[in-house]
Symmetry: C2
Subunit: 326 residues, 2 copies
Amino acid sequence: MAEAKIRAAIVGYGNLGRSAEKLLAQAPDMELVGVFSRRDSLDTDAPVWSTDDFAAKAEAKEFDVALLCLGSATDMPSLAPEYAKHASTVDTYDNHNDVPRHYEAMDAAAKAAGTVAIVSTGWDPGMFSLNRVYAQALLPGGEQRTFWGPGLSQGHSDAVRRVEGVKKGVQYTLPDETALDKARNRQAADLTGYNTHARQVFIVLEEGADAEAIKKEIREMPDYFAPYENVEINVIDEETFDAEHTGMPHGGHVITAGDTGGFNHTIEYVLKLERNPDFTAAVQIAYARAAHRLKEQGQSGAFTVLEVAPYLISPTPLTDLIARDV
Amino acid sequence: MAEAKIRAAIVGYGNLGRSAEKLLAQAPDMELVGVFSRRDSLDTDAPVWSTDDFAAKAEAKEFDVALLCLGSATDMPSLAPEYAKHASTVDTYDNHNDVPRHYEAMDAAAKAAGTVAIVSTGWDPGMFSLNRVYAQALLPGGEQRTFWGPGLSQGHSDAVRRVEGVKKGVQYTLPDETALDKARNRQAADLTGYNTHARQVFIVLEEGADAEAIKKEIREMPDYFAPYENVEINVIDEETFDAEHTGMPHGGHVITAGDTGGFNHTIEYVLKLERNPDFTAAVQIAYARAAHRLKEQGQSGAFTVLEVAPYLISPTPLTDLIARDV
């Protein structure tokens, strides 16, 4: 008899939610049972449930785990703990500095409810966090650097699009090849986040907008662009933009180099992703599997990816993994 | 008050044991308290203990965890379960096909004794196993390949040196660059273990040995060389050998590429190691930390790296890891 599939619900139906829907169909041991949304109708064949009914659906055990596909800016910090009071959840909260606070809030909610909340999955935070911790544990005192791209930066693209006179805009982050090599050879001491990456902007202007003024405004934007050594801003026409700049590629490198007494050792983890929300959803789905299993084991509370034993995210049984992959 | 350091003992004092001794001195939270050996005296400043006294030293709680630095050929399978009956252990058993049997034997010994045995750490098995499992869990149905090198293969070097007339010999394994690119782009279907790697041999001959006969014997050695498409055998003089071929570099790639509906995603984990036993020992030490912590948590039995939550191998407290690395 086949084991029952893990019944997943999606909360929120933006890019991430749609990727999660697509990839749940590829998961051998999981199924999508419903999409919670604040909207009345969605372009999906899955059952659409009102977010107002989350507690009732959870109470009625209509799903096992909820994939919170909410924006990190405001929805996730305010809403996620409410969901964790009723069901096991897995989120992709990516505001790095705020993760400890979010983890505590989710832990309190999940412990009180007897649910499991896995927080900040995805690839950074997520797989990159894991690799930072693994590599530092192996090479204590080693030099570690994270590089992002080549890829579309959602936050920086949003910032560019908020500039008045910008009709369409994207921002790509590109790691500097020389910087990558320095990191691999423990020569990264002089590297900062500001000289290891180039930021490349493509914008389409509203009619009559002042290109030079807009370029200047972007270049001088605090935090986003001002501190970076290498910023390139390209004004292009709308046709070119639509043809070449609507994909969502991303990726990056975590490079750790350490010395063991005259011998250099380099650990490098590289992601090349043609569609960022797809890969983020792929990680989220794997940790949804783990959340359900931890709950079934009788655990409760919040977990980061650092606290989840690797085999728990795999659809393959442990004994098969040991025989095949160890 | 500083927490007490984890007291590690080393069993076996070959290349791996000596690397473990060197690297334990770099571990902020561990200390080496003794080296168990069958030999009376070793070239070490650490206390040297007879392996006959292992049970008594364990009983007297003179150490917390034993790093088994034994050969995988015969010592590890026969001796490791005996050690696990008395103390928590961490080993680097690398006979992939035999890991399930070893795991069961260690589990029985460790469960009966209330100890923890972490098996098959190192980098392959070990970190590569972890990365195979993580990547397959994220990209189910993806294509996965492991490449080794450029690096010295111990097993193949030993095989070369067993050939009569060979005075000194090493074998380097080199991944094929074209094969690496194929694996990154899901074009690896036609790749086998035999056409993805070149095997490069350097030998010094005994006086009067027949070079052509020896080359033929190596080339036709079953399993080791016969099935490989690209084997290069170089006869060199002893001076060159001693100058250029006494290092122990190694490394490799685990490449996983998966499709999410028209979009390719590549996960690549790369190790470049200037000294193979140093890195193997570094992994073993990190998992020794985890073995001790699992034991302190009241757990017992055998664990593979797949079953150990990542934070348990880090010297840094979990709350600091969450704040720094997630």
